[in-house]
């Protein structure tokens, strides 16, 4: 079974890009109603369908509001009760498939989290954040900030 067909079997998938990005070893996916996807569930799904594929990472484009919760900066996903802890970019999901290493972050991507925090003025700030979505033991879902765009 092809990878694309296997991914389409995941509950709630709306669409998958027709062609993968073979240079970066990625493909695009959309969930119905903008549902939040747990990287662990996706990883398990890919393993379970036995297509010889493994999830290296999951990047999400999420809209919500920047807020602070205790010591952590968080993104409150608009229209839901979901709260994603925010962090600086660690490792990119995109890969240099020729050299078989993750693509190195650009200078702008390296500084994105710091620049976002500089915008924080003590009240919720509407923003769209793009970055790897990871689950950290004991801390829940964390969204690493690779890019952001302030929303009006």
């Amino acid at each position: 079974m092809p990878v694309r067909e296997g991914l389409a079997r995941l509950e709630g998938v709306e669409s998958i890009s027709q062609r993968p990005n073979v240079n970066e070893g990625t493909c695009e996916l959309r969930m119905k109603s903008g549902r939040l996807l747990d990287p662990e569930i996706l990883s398990k799904h890919l393993y379970d369908i036995r297509v010889g594929a493994r999830l290296r990472g999951l990047e999400a484009v999420v809209t919500g509001s920047l807020d602070k919760q205790g010591q952590d900066y968080v993104l409150r996903v608009a229209g839901t009760n979901e709260v994603l802890r925010l962090a600086a970019l660690g490792c990119k999901v995109q890969k240099d498939t020729d050299r078989k290493i993750p693509l190195p972050p650009t200078k702008s991507e390296d500084n994105a989290f710091r620049k976002l925090l500089a915008k924080w003025k003590g009240k919720p700030l509407p923003v769209q954040i793009t970055g790897p979505l990871i689950r950290i033991e004991g801390k829940g879902l964390t969204l690493e900030v690779r890019q952001f765009e302030l929303k009006p």
Binding site: P2, V3, R4, L7, R19, P20, V22, E24, G25, T26, C27, E28, L29, R30, M31, S33, G34, R35, L36, L37, L42, L46, V51, G52, A53, R54, L55, R56, G57, L58, E59, A60, V61, V62, T63, G64, V77, A78, G79, T80, V93, Q94, K95, Q128, L133
Partner: protein
């Protein structure tokens, strides 16, 4: 007669407002995902 007309317009307004509210409620907040996938098969992710 006039009262019926007003009620009809009011009902249409409520339906329109409800539709807007519902469309906002299901608005996509996670726009898209990029999946980084490593494949073992020779045909790769191209399949």
């Amino acid at each position: 007669m006039k009262r019926n007309l007003i009620m009809k317009h009011l009902a249409s307004g409520i339906i329109a407002l409800t539709s807007v509210w519902l469309s906002c409620a299901v608005r996509a907040e996670v726009r898209s995902y990029t999946l980084g996938i490593d494949v073992n098969c020779p045909t790769g992710l191209g399949e």
